[in-house]
């Protein structure tokens, strides 16, 4: 099987997998970074969201071959001590119920706020629309993004 060099959370890794292996499963099964979640496998739910060179992408639908040489950030690498403004806002608001989708929500929100640090309420709704929360903690997700924006913007 081919070898791929990828940079995850600032560390270069070499993985030996089939070329069509989604980044999601490379992270979870090969690199033991299980914070990135499997939800649907077809880029519909957002649970697997990571940053690829700063952009929020769906790792379940990105073959590892397509990300070689690029910088990937996962929830484990978003901040050193869990103190990224988005993580802190999530804690302040106490967003999670079951918590399964929240890593993906946080990764979508942090990439969004990087590009738009002063969003309107509607812009937040549009940005977060792709991430499903089955527990429907949406009102708190929205509030946490607003709070994070005040700290970033």
């Amino acid at each position: 099987m081919p070898k791929y060099d990828i940079n995850v959370n600032g560390v270069s890794k070499s993985v030996d997998v089939a070329e069509d292996t989604p980044l999601l499963w490379v992270l979870r099964d090969h690199l033991d970074l299980v914070g990135t979640k499997y939800g649907c496998g077809i880029a519909q739910c957002g649970a697997c969201t990571v940053h690829l060179d700063g952009n929020a992408v769906r790792s379940c639908s990105l073959p590892v071959a397509s990300v070689a040489g690029q910088h990937i950030t996962t929830i484990e690498g978003l901040s050193k001590n869990g103190d990224h403004p988005v993580q802190l806002a999530w804690k302040e608001v106490d967003v999670p119920q079951c918590g399964y989708c929240q890593a993906g929500q946080i990764m979508t929100a942090s990439a969004f706020l990087d590009k738009n640090p002063n969003p309107t309420s509607d812009e937040i709704k549009t940005a977060m629309h792709g991430n499903i929360c089955r527990c429907a903690s949406y009102t708190r997700i929205h509030r946490a993004v607003e709070i994070a924006a005040t700290k970033i913007g």
Partner: protein, 742 residues
């Protein structure tokens, strides 16, 4: 002062052991004498939660670890249950560490997540556990000082005597564990609560926001392999032959096996039939080194299937259910007075039929489980709402002693009832037994949505008689797939309020597996009844709120012990909802709908505000008023209220699983619509402040939401929605060209 009526017998109550890290583990074993035999939770009302136990671990330095006994599915019990112990133990909440207990039938019972019962059932026992431990710590300190325990007080883990001398709990924990177990424990008065009633964050918040391994899918051990299962493509089909040539040649694939014999044994005994989605068929299992390799190789399998039953389509099921409603084969669950006589004498009769689809649970974490089976031990790890039942079933299936089973519960990425059914545990146990390796079974999203234990399709027909401006008869008929409403549901409102009242049920036994889905039966019954009452008020030309209040008035002072809801508490939530929502006072362009419902021991009223955008009604806000007694953790409670309301709105609007020839027509989120951020209403929640023992919140805010929305859409469009999901009826959602009058 409220004095506990329960006294402890020392032998049953306490076990202590030294910890390697210093300090002591105190095991409080409550009520072991009345441990129930565990039965499958088909009827959630029958579950016995009275047998509780909890562990408190106090280290020499005073750090307190509390073990949360029940499974955490997002309902917040891993935070709220330890709060009950900590309150009476009298420690500061920020000194407390919480750990998930494993399944331990020796020391715990009722380790289950279902029916919104965890807090209600543990309210007494867990506080008694904390209070008993606190008294033992005091007694130990008093003995050391040579003073009377009554001269000592506690605060935040410190014991103080009359001279102002202090001991930390850690200083006396060794002696405390050797003390006699005190009887007639006095619990705190409500006004003295320091933890109960305060906001506590989710105890796993730091782990969740940093992506730590918490969930079943995250669990792994050295040498673990992955299993993906090919199940029948449609309900009613069973496996004939399969070809694994291609799959076996794929990278990472270790083996392909056929399973099903053991699960069939389970089904035969009548134990597992309701849990075994597609349980009649054998299944083909790919074992691979990684999840992706297993998922991919499963797709490369080819198989032939034979029809073993009616290959049902949605239209066929609809016909069956409507046929039942039109027929005479009913079981009567409650009968008051004589409805036939009242209908024959009525001035007016209103009759409506309400129809709901099947719903998958769609937990964000797909079903999965870990097993490693050796001659010594059956090691099971993963997300299951009914760990004790699963352990017993696996032991029975494998012909092993249940004592061999070591089951660890992980945090669950949602439950909603799906994880009450342990089909995935039996599957992984059969696989692990066959391959003799540690293995993780993983459902793909498609597996999860198509091999479900669905909320059954249900139809209700409600008929009411009106005579001299009064509702004189009420006839509720239910036709459901798989089973019928159970327990106390037939005694919910309006039982007791209408003289002639009858509930009749009939069911159609489909081969599609069905089961509990967040607020079983009431999740749709509330929609039917609360829509009906709205229309009944219109028919009677009376105020829709007043009609409900008047009916509730008639229940006051009832001597009927079957009636569980409180008319006073229900009237109160209705009045508060009217007040807080600005009912009837909203300006032009806001259309409101009302619903109130009692279930899972809590009383809820909701008002939905709908506005018109681009010619279609949009739910902008839901005001939700809840009386669930004392609120243990308001921060968590609010999250449950908001989530329950939005979940209720979302499924009423969009949720539907249809079948063609037994095959589910939605397999993933590209063809199944769940509510998303852009579609949510603002949820304004209000919790009634009182001093009544707490009841559940995981479910009760969901059922009224659909009716509140439908009633608001009626106000906005003039059209009544009687079928879910609403999005399927765009013509009824359209706002007419002429403005609505009235």
């Amino acid at each position: 002062m409220s004095t506990s009526s329960v006294t402890f017998n020392r032998r049953a109550f306490i076990r202590t052991s030294s910890l390697a890290s210093g300090g002591l583990l105190i095991g409080f074993n409550l009520f072991t004498a009345c441990k129930p035999k565990v039965q499958p939770p088909v009827d959630i009302s029958q579950l016995n939660f009275n047998d509780f136990n909890a562990f408190i671990k106090i280290a020499d330095n005073g750090a307190v670890t509390l073990f949360s006994p029940n499974p955490e599915i997002g309902q917040g019990v891993k935070t709220a249950m330890p709060m009950l112990i900590a309150e009476e133990l009298d420690v500061a909440w920020n000194m407390v560490y919480v750990e998930q207990a494993i399944l331990d039938t020796e020391n715990y019972s009722g380790q289950i997540a279902g029916g919104s019962q965890s807090i209600r059932q543990s309210w007494g026992p867990l506080r008694q556990t904390g209070a008993t431990a606190r008294q033992m710590l005091i007694n130990a300190a008093a003995a050391k000082w040579g003073v009377d325990p009554s001269e000592c007080s506690t605060s935040e883990g410190i014991i103080t005597n009359a001279n102002g001398e202090t001991f930390g709990y850690g200083d006396v924990v060794k002696e405390a564990a050797a003390m006699e177990v005190p009887e007639n424990i006095t619990l705190k008065e409500i006004k003295d609560f320091k933890i109960i009633g305060t906001d506590a964050r989710n105890v796993d918040i730091d782990k969740i926001i940093t992506g730590k391994p918490l969930f079943g899918l995250d669990y792994k051990v050295e040498g673990m392999v992955y299993a993906c299962v090919l199940r029948p493509p449609a309900f009613g089909k069973i496996l004939d032959t399969y070809d694994d040539t291609k799959a076996k040649s794929m990278p990472g694939v270790l083996d392909v096996i056929r399973i099903g014999e053991k699960a069939k044994e389970l089904t035969k005994e009548g134990v597992g039939n309701w849990t075994a989605a597609m349980g009649k068929s054998d299944k083909v299992v790919v074992i691979a080194k990684t999840t992706w390799e297993a998922l991919k190789a499963k797709e490369a399998l080819s198989a032939t299937w034979v029809d073993d039953a009616v290959m049902e389509s949605t239209e066929y099921q609809d016909e069956q259910l409507l046929g039942l409603l039109d027929g005479k084969e009913f079981k009567t669950l409650r009968k008051d007075g004589n409805i036939d006589k009242a209908f024959s004498q009525a001035d007016k009769i209103l009759e409506r039929t309400y129809e709901s689809p099947f719903l998958p649970h769609n937990c964000m974490e797909p079903m999965n489980f870990f097993a490693n089976i050796t001659d010594e031990k059956i090691h099971l790890v993963g997300p299951v709402q009914t760990p004790e039942y699963a352990a017993n079933a696996v032991a029975g299936m494998l012909g092993r002693d249940v004592k061999d089973v070591h089951l660890e519960m992980t945090r669950m990425g949602g439950g909603f009832g799906r994880r009450l059914y342990g089909d995935f545990v039996y599957e992984v146990a059969e696989i692990a037994e066959a391959i003799k390796k540690p293995v993780k079974l993983v459902f793909s999203r498609e597996d999860d949505m198509t091999a479900g234990v669905y909320r059954p399709a249900i139809k209700y027909r409600i008929k009411a008689a009106i005579k001299n401006g009064q509702v004189t008869a009420y006839h509720l008929k239910e036709a459901a797939v798989g089973g019928n409403m159970y327990g106390l549901i037939p005694n919910f409102f309006p039982a007791g309020a209408i003289e002639n009242y009858q509930v009749d049920v009939a069911n159609y036994q489909s081969n599609i597996t069905t089961g509990a889905w967040r607020a079983p039966y009431t999740n749709f019954l509330a929609f039917a009844e609360q829509s009906f009452f709205d229309e009944l008020a219109e028919t009677m030309e009376v105020d829709r709120i007043q009609l409900r209040l008047d009916l509730l008035e008639k229940v006051k002072g009832t001597t009927d012990e079957r009636i569980q809801y409180s008319p006073e508490r229900m009237q109160n939530v209705i009045k508060v909802a009217v007040d807080k929502s600005g009912w009837g006072k909203k300006g032009d362009g806001v259309f409101q709908g009302f619903a109130a419902y009692y279930c899972h021991n809590s009383h809820v009223a909701e008002v939905a505000d709908v506005e018109i955008e681009n010619g279609m009604p949009v739910v902008k806000k839901v005001t939700c008023v809840v009386d669930c007694g004392i609120v243990v953790n308001p921060l968590g409670a609010k999250n449950q209220i908001e989530g329950g309301v939005i979940d209720g709105v979302g499924h009423a609007m969009y949720g539907e699983l249809t079948f063609v020839d037994g095959k589910p027509q939605s397999q993933n989120y590209d063809k199944y619509r769940l509510i998303r951020m852009g579609e949510i209403p603002i949820v304004e929640s209000h919790m009634i402040q009182n001093e009544i023992a707490p009841t559940g919140l995981g479910e009760p805010t969901l059922p009224p939401a659909g009716a509140a929305v439908a009633n608001a859409i009626k106000a906005a469009t003039g059209n009544r929605l009687t079928q879910q999901p609403f999005s399927k009826f765009p013509e009824l959602m359209k706002v007419p060209d002429q403005p609505i009058i009235g």
